[in-house]
Symmetry: C2
Subunit: 413 residues, 2 copies
């Protein structure tokens, strides 16, 4: 409609709403350009750089930057050299005095951290906690305490919290903040009172799937920088997955794609928490690996450390258990790559400390079941470790802030 | 850039190129609205109907329709009642005197058909031909003969051919017209001289994957009308697949997604033409089903008919062979649904005549491996039969015509 009007006899003068939309779009462009820029202090962009990068006029950039400085989303950071003309200018950066909170509830721990707008994880706290079968309000109360501690630390450091994201190991409905199903927590249809965690954050809080968050963290801060299309497999109590296609998360029609832990890898295999059997999780989840390796029950972190020692010592049972997990990971990865036309795999979570042993087993399995599909060089181990899900949840919240700066600027008030 | 200029002091007068873009966009809107309309002669849309549906002015619609009539894409079809005001108007339809050709090269036959712009398959010819291991030029020569016959018939019926699509059972690069790999034809890295098939068609010819075409045909003319998200599995010599998400084909980052025939369903299973082993194809492909059912070698159509007779007679080996295929189809479908968040499955190709027996086996398998994920009501058997791939290839070509009408109108000349 608007297109036709404009071409077939409109007034030619943009409506007031349109001008506002354009200004909002330009605020977003400035921030996107800042987010792409290096954080090296010597090469911080000036207003002139931003004009070149965005194609906006210098006058526009000055006005937009003033608005973003005023909103606290950008900060000036001393003079910087303008390489081309030799004149010094004022460098700009995404504000490190504004941040977002990343949170995670997993089966045997909870965690929270503060990411500043520049992308630095400033605070990171983890608390061991056996959450399986615990009531959601009690776990949320525990998480609330952790978040309050972080908010106090942030406040002491002069950092204002704008929003946050919570990652849980299950299928979630982000819009309603509901955990549809998290079998390893034994939660089903649980509505979480997210807003109570950070009631005053202007951008609010969002709920995410843990493996999807870890896959996104890998995309933004890890191997995803090289791989545009890959399957991320995260080992926890369960086995989660995230599908990245064209450098974006593929979430599926109802936001629940990537359940690689429940790909059937052995039709006669053992029962699974999902109600099926023979799933990847039954061979590569923590319990399967630990018990196959003959590691006595106990806290997951203790068992994982013990497994690491046994692997390093060349213990046959430990090596066999990890190789078996790698074999079945390869089968699931081969099937996923065939279905979705992917060409890389990244392993994270508890697979990271097993990397040296699990990677070759996975590569052998890929060569056996899908020869030529995924080269050895495109099988990688995440280096983000246990902070991945939290980083992904915080990073998602950070992107939500940068995509809607007008929430804080006069243009949006 | 253009957004900013328009808001911050542009002339307000759309550039000539912009007017042209708008007119092109409106031509497309008219055709899209026509394609959505019913073909029932009594309810054919009038110019007034199109104005209501598209939100364009009646004057604009009249001018655009005149251009499309002139280009031969629309036709007038007698008076029709305007239901609301009782005044008769001239009904419009997508021209049945323009059409596109759908073609298929499969392992044991070639086929071609003519689809008019209204979506009716006017001509359909199939020729049995053992193409496995044949040289691509010789198969293309055979197909060329079939297409010439169809072009002659079309000409005799006063139908002008605008373009076409060819479906092959393998991974293709549509842009270059190359078959990257079609194991069951034993073709690899084969460039097909598509333009020689229909040198004068203004929209040219495109190359597609056979299972993707069949999945799209199901979307446009079959069960896809009810299912927005589903896995389509096509039984041929191989087993192909197509993933439909949000009523669109999911083609993957390099256009090769949907290879469900090579999902690993039995890690210790037999070798497969893909170089792996234990793939679905080794249990649900034609050779696997026929030999498990004890059906003697011969032409596929003869063997399929024989299998049908044995199933109808309750032959134990035949029923067991088809049940086994259904069991493994269920495993692959369960894994795919978990990965991609799909909630329906449609079986086509050679599974269609086995439908009565294979459907319950697939349903049992889904209930065993992914309980609650795909209800019995969302497992369907395609009714399009052997014409599916050809219909999908032609339908893709038809959509390309409707999306670029300016190729034939003054606006594009």
């Amino acid at each position: 409609m608007s297109l036709e009007k404009s071409a077939e006899g409109g007034t030619g003068r943009p409506a007031p709403g349109r001008v506002e939309d354009v200004r909002r779009g330009n605020l977003i462009r400035i921030l996107a350009s800042m987010a792409e820029a290096r954080t090296d202090p010597d090469t911080r962009p000036t207003r002139a750089d931003l004009a070149t990068r965005t194609g906006l006029t210098k006058a526009s950039v000055s006005s937009l930057v003033a608005e973003l400085l005023d909103a606290g989303l950008l900060a000036e950071s001393g003079t910087t050299r303008d390489g081309e003309r030799g004149r010094p200018g004022v460098g700009l950066e995404l504000s490190t005095s504004r941040g977002v909170v990343g949170m995670e509830i997993n089966v045997d721990y909870i965690a929270a951290g503060l990411l500043d707008l520049g992308g630095t994880l400033r605070i990171h706290r983890t608390l061991e906690s056996s959450n399986r079968g615990q009531s959601p309000p009690s776990v949320m109360a525990l998480l609330g305490g952790l978040v309050r501690d972080i908010a106090a630390e942030a406040s002491a450091a002069g950092i204002e919290i704008l929003g946050g994201g919570l990652a849980v190991p299950g299928l979630v409905d982000s819009a309603s903040g509901t955990v549809a199903s998290a079998p390893n927590l034994q939660w089903r249809g649980v509505g979480l009172q997210l807003e109570q965690l950070l009631p005053s954050a202007p951008f609010g809080l969002a709920l995410y799937n843990e493996a999807n968050c870890a896959a996104l963290a890998e995309l933004w801060y890890g191997h995803g920088l090289d791989f545009r299309d890959y399957l991320f497999i995260s080992g926890e109590v369960g086995v989660g997955g995230g599908l990245v296609i064209g450098s974006e998360l593929f979430a599926g029609p109802r936001g629940q794609a990537g359940e690689v832990g429940h790909v059937v890898v052995e039709p006669s295999g053992p029962d699974c928490s999902c109600g099926g059997h023979g799933c990847l999780e039954a061979f590569a989840g923590q319990e399967a690996v630990f018990s196959e390796a003959g590691i006595a029950p106990g806290a997951a972190s203790v068992r994982l450390a013990r497994l690491g020692e046994q692997l390093a010592a060349g213990d046959a049972a430990a090596v066999a258990a990890v190789s078996r997990a790698g074999h079945y990971l390869g089968i699931a990865a081969a099937s996923t790559a065939r279905l979705m036309n992917l060409s890389a795999v990244v392993l994270g979570g508890h697979f990271t400390p097993m990397g040296r042993w699990i990677r070759p087993a996975l590569q052998r399995s890929l060569a056996e079941y899908a020869p030529g599909l995924i080269s050895d060089a495109r099988v990688e181990i995440s280096e983000l470790g246990q902070s991945a899900a939290l980083l992904g949840a915080a990073g998602s919240s950070l992107r939500a802030v940068l995509a809607a700066p007008f929430t804080l600027t006069p243009a949006g008030r």
